[in-house]
Symmetry: C2
Subunit: 90 residues, 2 copies
DNA sequence: AAAGACTTGACAAATTTTGGACAATTTAAG
DNA sequence: CTTAAATTGTCCAAAATTTGTCAAGTCTTT
């Protein structure tokens, strides 16, 4: 979800994978995977991306975290219940 | 949260740490930590515990998962927003 | 056919997480 | 005081996850 979002931003700004990768100081192949949710963005990347694309950091961070969460619960039963329970205990 | 719950069950059933640890085939020191949320129960432990204390597996599993979730998001901003977003994307 | 943009898979390296063991200490009860 | 129960701290090994890098591949455009 953060991946697709970044990709959309990148494309609508006519930025090449290779260019954005350079700004994030990572391999282009890696960024390609990140945008397709095959790998994860690092926490620090989010700040850089927010600046580059002038997005509210909060939005990107929330998406990034949500991804992280979904990753840890994937393939478990009662995911929704657990998420609700988690919210109640934050 | 699963920890405190197990502890409550254990005590109300007059079971000693050492005894429950034996049933779970783990070190008593470890179980002590687990009940105090210093360490985590393994996924398999949940099934055993549900049987031992005759609890609905779903309840324990949900708590266990919620703990796991909270662990991954702890110390991050926008946790609630992320959890909500995660729910919407399950 | 050549070039540019992106994807894919495989592999090694690095890092993190986890688990278990033990000894020492503390707490509570008798 | 003595014993039993539980906690704490630390160390270590194994396992699991994450990362980075590369070479080769696809697809599209010129």
């Amino acid at each position: 979800m953060i991946g697709e979002h970044i990709r959309a931003l990148r494309e609508s700004n006519d930025v090449l994978l290779r260019q954005l990768a350079a700004q994030l100081e990572i391999d282009q192949a890696m960024l390609s995977k990140m945008e397709r949710s095959e790998r994860s963005f690092k926490r620090e990347h989010i700040d850089v991306l927010a600046k580059i694309f002038k997005q509210p950091k909060k939005d990107l961070l929330t998406m990034w975290l949500a991804d992280k969460i979904l990753k840890t619960v994937k393939s478990e039963k009662f995911t929704k219940e657990a998420l609700r329970l988690a919210i109640d205990n934050v």
